[in-house]
């Protein structure tokens, strides 16, 4: 193996995770994965593979969707997250950039960012971090009093990333960060995550359909299909794998563009129904 896979002890260890929605739909069927301290790990998979379900399970959000963990364990440095509330999980340093950004549209940029600090009590630290976010994304500083709904897609994603960083996470989970954004902005965001990973040792779990991008930044990857891990390995190995090339890298930009088109359609349908 060219890349050292486990730099140190795992931050996150998911073992044989089984998740069910509404006591009826099985979304994850025994998923296991590991994120080592300071590592960037990618989880790839097509629509409906169970990626977002995995994120919800780790961050304690299944209750919003009437979902439950039926089997397996999620360990954060050995501590079981399965029974914890979202608040407990966030205050232990796990925060996410949710799929579709999920900003608070009529709150200002600054209020959105502050929402990331709700589990913290250190006022000085919070305003210091706020300034740091404005340094990372100067455009957000200019718009701090504007309602989030008026931002462009890229700026909104910056707010979503900044909001998650305001929790001072040790593990950041990004659910389809690249979705619907121009390649330029996607690259800026990924570069920033890479920098935080390098400089602060932030561990990152990248959930992506954009396999090319994700495998460029991740050290290790898992491929999820209908609720199961069908393949995993160091990123370079996955990039060279024939099946991965065919299904995830084949069409290059085309693939990711068509995926997002499908997804947009699906979302619209969900809203209308």
């Amino acid at each position: 193996m060219a890349v050292p896979v486990l730099k140190s002890a795992p931050v996150l260890e998911v073992a044989n995770l089984e998740v069910v929605y509404k006591n009826a739909v099985i979304a994850l069927r025994g998923v296991s994965l590991t994120v080592a301290e300071g590592q960037v790990v990618a989880v790839l998979g097509a629509n409906g593979a169970g990626k977002t379900t995995l994120v919800r399970a780790i961050t304690g959000l299944l209750f919003v969707h009437d979902g439950a963990i039926r089997d397996g364990a999620i360990l954060l440095r050995g501590e079981d997250l399965g029974r914890m509330s979202c608040a407990q999980i966030v205050s232990r340093g796990v925060c996410q950039v949710p799929e579709g950004r999920m900003l608070f549209p009529s709150l200002t940029v600054e209020e959105n960012l502050k929402m990331g600090s709700m589990t913290r009590r250190d006022r000085a630290g919070i305003s210091q971090d706020l300034e740091r976010i404005y340094e990372l994304f100067p455009i957000l500083g200019d718009r701090r009093r504007q309602e989030a709904r008026w931002l462009s897609g890229g700026e909104q994603q910056m707010v979503a990333v900044g909001r998650a960083l305001m929790a001072r996470p040790r593990l950041l989970i990004c659910d389809e960060l690249s979705l619907g954004l121009a390649p330029q902005i996607v690259e800026t965001l990924f570069e920033m995550l890479a920098r935080l990973n390098r400089e602060d040792g932030l561990s990152v779990l990248l959930i992506e359909q954009n396999a090319r991008m994700a495998l460029e930044y991740a050290a290790y990857g898992y491929i999820l299909e209908t609720g199961r891990v069908v393949l995993d390995g160091p990123a370079p190995q996955l990039r060279d794998n024939e099946d991965v090339q065919e299904f995830y890298l084949g069409g290059g930009e085309h693939v990711s563009i068509s995926y997002s088109a499908i997804k947009h359609y699906k979302r619209r349908k969900r809203w209308l129904s």
């Binding site: 009437d66 999980i89 925060c95 608070f104 009529s106 709150l107 929790a167």
Partner: protein, 292 residues
């Protein structure tokens, strides 16, 4: 002209009470998605407790307001934890029926304790004299009622805009899942909304007991007035509820004064229908409330 001014001032006074009630109603709806049809009963409970505190026990009105607000606040929070929380995930319809059940229970409780006889308004707590504004007589009762209502709304707005919990309440109203993802406990936000809504109704109830022609079990109908107020503003808009309350109060008085007392309700609800036809989400509401 004098008549118009008098009607306008009276309308603003009554409207300020409607605003408070509509505000609480909208607040609970905004964060918990529950239409609380017992909201008018919270107000009526406040008025009856005022009878006990101010008339039977002859206590100071400001101390009484604080105690009564605390009691009804506890009731609201209790309803959230005891009744509403276990119902999370049930269809809106069942939840609404439950709030109607709560309304009936409060009403029955008041009937049992206070009896069916109507009482006169409370006259011993506030000065009964008045003063002139540009030749128009204004009773102190009206003035005090308006000022206290305005102060309550102002304090609430400051809380809503400036504090951490206020921010959490606004965030939960916009996107519950995202707020939870940031570590906000939806339950404590829901409970806070119920508590604040109840306090608003309680304070309005105590004030109104000094103004209402009579105190009886029809007082909860004020809750029904809050409904057009809330709908006119947009069911999910706090500012709209405040404005809606004032508009309904003023229009009601103008209709009663110029057309006839029996047109009061017609005007309030008529306006609601017109607004809902032109702007289904109210003047300040957001479109996604259509999910109701």
């Amino acid at each position: 002209m004098d008549k118009f001014l008098i009607l306008l001032l009276t309308g603003l006074t009554v409207g300020s009470i409607y605003s408070m009630v509509a505000l609480g109603f909208v607040l609970v709806f905004k964060s918990t998605d529950v239409l609380n049809f017992a909201h008018g009963e919270f107000l009526m409970l406040g008025s009856y407790l005022a009878l006990t505190f101010l008339v039977s026990w002859d206590l100071n009105i400001w101390i009484s307001i604080l105690i009564i607000a605390a009691l009804i606040c506890a009731l609201g929070v209790g309803i959230h934890f005891g009744i509403m929380r276990p119902l999370i995930g049930q269809p809106l319809f069942s939840v609404v029926l439950v709030t109607i059940g709560i309304a009936i229970i409060i009403r029955a409780g008041l009937l049992i304790i206070y009896g069916p006889l109507e009482r006169g308004r409370i006259t011993q707590a506030l000065p009964q004299s008045g003063f002139d504004v540009a030749g128009v007589p204004v009773p102190w009762v009206n003035m005090i009622m308006f000022v206290v209502a305005a102060l309550s709304v102002l304090v609430f707005l400051l809380f809503f805009k400036m504090t951490r919990i206020g921010l959490q309440m606004r965030a939960v109203a916009e996107n519950l899942e995202a707020a939870a993802a940031m570590g906000v406990s939806p339950n404590s936000v829901f409970a806070t909304s119920w508590g604040i809504g109840a306090v608003m109704a309680a304070v309005a109830g105590v004030l109104y007991a000094n103004y209402a022609p009579v105190i009886d079990l029809n007082l909860s109908a004020i809750g029904l007035r809050a409904f057009p107020a809330a709908m006119i503003g947009g069911l999910d808009s706090v500012g709209g509820a405040i404005l809606g309350g004032l508009i309904v109060g003023v229009l009601e008085q103008l209709a009663a004064g110029y057309i006839g007392a029996e047109y009061r309700d017609v005007v309030a609800f008529g306006l609601m229908f017109v607004v809902l036809m032109v702007r289904p989400f109210g003047f300040f509401g957001k479109e996604d409330v259509i999910r109701v």
